[in-house]
Amino acid sequence: MPNQKTWAEKLQENWFTTKLETYVNWARKSSLWPMPFGTACCAIEFMSVLSSHYDLARFGAEVLRFSPRQSDLLIVSGTVTDKMAPVLKKIYDQMPEPKWVIAMGACASSGGFYRAYHVVQGIDEIIPVDIYVGGCPPTPEGLIHGVMLLQKKIEKEKGKLLSVRD
C-alpha cells in the first residue's frame, strides 16, 4: 500500500493534545444556553440582541431556555424589585452547575436610578454576578460585548471540572 500513512502521520491529522480542563472550558463557552430573566425595559433590547440583526447565535448563545434547569447562563435584564427578588433567587438556585450570571443594564447592576423603597440595589445582593453590562438600557452591542467577556472568563476557569460521579 503506497499511500498507507504511518501512525505518526495519522495522529498529526486527527488528534490534538490539550488539557481536559481547557477543552471542557472551550466547549462550555461556545454553547451557552441563556435563561432570560427579563423584567423591564432592558428585556426589550435583549429581544433585539436575539433577533436577526444582531443575532446572538454568532456567539453560540442563542438557545434560549425558559426553564432554569436547562440553562447555564442567567441574563437578568431589567429592574428587580423586592417582591421579585425571592423569585430570582429561586430561579438561580434551580440552575445546575456550572452556571454564570450577566447583569444587563444599570438596574440589574446597581438599582439604576431607582434608589427607592421597593427596588433591589443590584442583583448581587442576592446572587453572584459574573459580568455587569452598563447602560440604561445597554445597546445591543454592549450586551454582546458582555457575552464575549464572559466567554473569555470561562476560558480561564480552573477547578470547575466535575468528576464523572457528580
Binding site: F37, G38, T39, A40, C41, A43, I44, E45, S48, S51, S52, H53, F66, G78, T79, T81, D82, K83, M84, A85, P86, V87, L88, K90, I91, F113, Y114, R115, A116, Y117, H118, V119, V120, E125, C136, P137, T139
Partner: protein
C-alpha cells in the same frame, strides 16, 4: 364623537344644591373642576354623578391619595371621573383625618374601583369601608408602612426573604372538585411578556376562575417624582410604557405646561404629534406581533420588527437613544430634530404600509386566525366602561372614545383621521382596531409632514428652557441662566391639574400637584393598563388555557406602566 354640548352645565353648582350638607366647596383651576366632599356623603354623590342622566359620569378614571402632611385633616382621597357622552371631567376630593383615615368603598358603584382602592391603601394607608379584599397590591406582603406618605423616606426598603405563595387563599372550589387544579403562570414566564402573575383554577382545559397579582415591577415612580425636579422626571416617564416612551414624555410635558399655563409653538406641537404617532405605531407593532406569536404565527413577528427598527433609527437620530428616548422637555425639546428628519419620516411612511398589508393579508381572512380570535376574550361595552377600560381595548368593544377626538390636544382637531371601533370586543377586534389605528396614525403623520417647516424647537423663556449649549459656553448671562435652571429647576405656580393624552394603551393621565417648588408635591399617573389588567380575570372565565394566553397578549399589558 360629534356630540355637541348644548348647554353648559355647572356640575359643581348642581352638586352643591343637591347635597348642601356634604359638598364643602367646588373650585376651578386651569379648567379642571374639583369638588370637595365630606366622607359620609361620598357614596351618595358618586352614585348621583354616575346615574343622573344629565351628568352621566360613567367612567371611573382613577383613585389616589394625597398626603398633606402638616394640614389637618392630613389626607385627601381623590377621585377622577369622566363622562364619555358629555365629555366632562370632575375631580372629587375627600379629606380624611390622620387618626381615622377611612372612607366608604365605591366598589359597589364601579367594579373597577377595587384595585385603585387597594393601591391607595397600600401606599397611603387609607382604609375603604366595605372593600371586599383590602390588602397590599404593589408592594409585597412583608412591607411595613405606607410608602407614599410624606414622612416615609424614599429609600427605606423592606427586603423580602421568602417566596410568597399563592395569591389569595387556596381557592375553595378546588377542594370540592378533585378534578380541578391550580395553575400558576408568572411572574417569570415567557407567555406573560413581563412580570405579571396569573393564577388560574382549571378543570380539564377550561379556566374556571383566576386571579392576578401585580407589583413585581413596582419601581416607585411616584415617590421618585416627588424627589426630582420636573426636568429630571422626564427620564423616569420613559420607563412607564417603555414600548412607546416618547408618548409618556410628551404627556408629562403637557401636564407641566398646563400647570404653567403655556402653549408651545406650532412646530413643536407638530414634532410631538409626528413622533407620538410613530411611537404609537411602534407600540402597536409590538403588541400585534407578540399577540400573533402567542397564537403560533411567528412569521409576523419578523415582519413587524423590521419597520420597528427603522423608527428606532429615526429616534436615535433625534436624540441618541433607541428605547428610552427622554426627548420631550417642558416647553419643547432639548435639541432640534436632525436635518435628515423629513427624509427619514417620509421613508418610513413609504415602507411601512407594505409590512402592515402583508400581516393583514396573512391573517385577517385566515381561518385558523379567525378561529382562534373571534368571540374569544369578549368584553362587552358596558363592562368595559365599568372596569375603566380606555384606548384600543375600549374601542374594540364598540365605544368610540379617543382622547385625541374627544378632548383634542396638540391640534389633533385639525387632522383628518377616523377612530376605528370594533363590535364584539374580542381578540379579533382588538387586533383589527390596532391595525387600523396604525394606518390612521400614518395619515396623521402625512398631514403633519405637509405642514412641517422651520421654526423654534423650544420656547424662548428663561425660566423654563435651557439656553443653547454654545451660548451657555460663550456668554455669561446664558451661563447663569443655565446654571440656575439646572440647580434650581422650573418652579410652576402652586395648584393642581389633571392632564391626559391618548397613549398607545389608552388614556394616560398625569395628576400633578405643585406647591410652587421645583419638585412636584405629588404626581399620580393614571396608567391605562391598570384597569384593563384588572378586568382581564372576567374575560378568562370559561376560556381554554391556550386562549387565555392569547387574551392576555391582546390586552398589551406593559408591566412598567402597570406597576409604575
Amino acid at each position: 364623537m360629534t356630540v355637541e354640548l348644548k348647554e353648559r352645565v355647572d356640575v359643581g353648582q348642581i352638586l352643591q344644591e343637591r347635597f348642601p350638607s356634604c359638598v364643602v366647596k367646588s373650585e376651578e383651576f386651569r379648567g379642571d373642576l374639583a369638588v370637595t366632599v365630606r366622607r359620609d356623603g361620598l357614596l351618595e354623590v358618586v352614585s348621583f354623578l354616575k346615574n343622573e342622566p344629565q351628568l352621566d359620569f360613567d367612567l371611573l378614571l382613577d383613585i389616589c391619595g394625597v398626603d398633606r402632611l402638616g394640614r389637618s385633616p392630613r389626607f385627601d382621597c381623590v377621585y377622577h371621573l369622566r363622562s364619555l357622552s358629555k365629555r366632562r371631567l370632575i375631580r372629587l376630593k375627600v379629606p380624611l383625618d390622620e387618626n381615622d383615615p377611612e372612607v366608604s368603598s365605591i366598589t359597589s358603584v364601579w367594579k373597577g374601583a377595587n384595585w385603585f382602592e387597594r393601591e391607595t391603601y397600600d401606599l397611603f394607608g387609607l382604609k375603604f369601608k366595605g372593600h371586599p379584599n383590602l390588602r397590599r397590591i404593589l408592594t409585597h406582603e412583608d412591607f411595613k408602612g405606607h410608602a407614599l406618605r410624606k414622612d416615609y423616606p424614599a429609600d427605606r426598603r423592606h427586603p423580602l426573604a421568602r417566596t410568597t405563595d399563592a395569591l389569595t387563599t387556596w381557592p375553595e372550589s378546588v377542594g370540592e372538585h378533585p378534578e380541578r387544579m391550580v395553575v400558576n403562570i408568572g411572574p417569570s414566564h415567557p407567555a406573560t411578556h413581563g412580570t405579571l402573575r396569573i393564577q388560574a383554577v382549571i378543570e380539564g382545559e377550561t379556566v374556571v376562575e383566576s386571579d392576578s397579582e401585580i407589583g413585581y415591577l413596582h419601581r416607585c415612580f411616584e415617590k421618585m417624582a416627588e424627589n426630582h425636579t420636573y426636568a429630571q422626571i422626564v427620564a423616569y416617564t420613559d420607563r412607564l410604557n417603555y414600548c412607546s416612551s416618547f408618548m409618556n414624555n410628551a404627556g408629562f410635558a403637557l401636564a407641566v405646561e398646563k400647570l404653567l399655563d403655556i402653549q408651545v409653538p406650532e412646530r413643536i406641537r407638530l414634532i410631538r404629534v409626528i413622533l407620538s404617532e410613530l411611537t404609537r405605531i411602534m407600540d402597536h407593532l409590538v403588541a400585534i406581533a407578540a399577540n400573533l406569536v402567542d397564537l403560533g404565527a411567528i412569521t409576523n413577528f419578523w415582519y413587524f420588527f423590521r419597520p420597528r427598527e427603522e423608527i428606532y433609527d429615526l429616534l436615535e437620530a433625534c436624540c441618541g437613544a433607541r428605547l428610552t428616548v427622554n426627548y420631550a422637555r417642558i416647553g419643547g425639546f432639548p435639541l432640534d430634530v436632525p436635518e435628515s428628519f423629513v427624509e427619514m419620516v417620509n421613508e418610513i411612511l413609504r415602507r411601512l404600509p407594505r409590512f402592515i398589508d402583508d400581516v393583514d393579508r396573512l391573517n385577517t381572512k385566515n381561518r385558523i386566525f379567525q378561529g382562534r380570535t373571534r368571540n374569544i376574550g369578549v368584553m362587552k361595552k358596558e363592562d368595559a366602561i365599568e372596569w375603566g377600560f380606555t384606548g384600543p381595548c375600549l374601542r374594540a368593544s364598540g365605544v368610540e372614545y379617543d382622547v385625541r377626538k374627544a378632548h383634542p390636544y396638540l391640534d389633533y382637531e385639525s387632522f383628518d383621521f377616523v377612530v376605528p371601533v370594533g363590535t364584539n370586543g374580542d381578540i379579533y377586534d382588538r387586533i383589527a382596531v390596532r391595525m387600523e389605528e396604525m394606518r390612521q396614525s400614518m395619515r396623521i403623520v402625512k398631514q403633519a409632514m405637509k405642514r412641517f417647516g422651520s421654526g423654534p424647537y423650544k420656547i424662548d423663556e428663561k425660566t423654563i428652557s435651557l439656553p443653547e449649549k454654545d451660548k451657555a459656553y460663550s456668554d455669561i448671562e446664558s451661563l447663569i441662566n443655565h446654571f440656575k435652571l439646572v440647580m434650581e429647576g422650573i418652579t410652576p405656580p402652586s395648584g393642581e391639574v389633571y392632564s391626559y393624552t391618548e397613549a398607545a394603551n389608552g388614556e394616560l393621565g398625569f395628576y400633578l400637584i405643585s406647591d410652587g417648588g421645583p419638585k412636584p408635591y405629588r404626581l399620580k399617573v393614571r396608567p391605562p393598563c391598570f384597569p384593563i389588567f384588572q378586568g382581564m380575570n372576567e374575560m378568562l372565565k370559561g376560556t381554554l388555557v391556550a386562549d387565555s394566553i392569547a387574551i392576555l397578549a391582546s390586552l398589551n399589558i406593559i408591566a412598567g406602566e402597570l406597576d409604575r
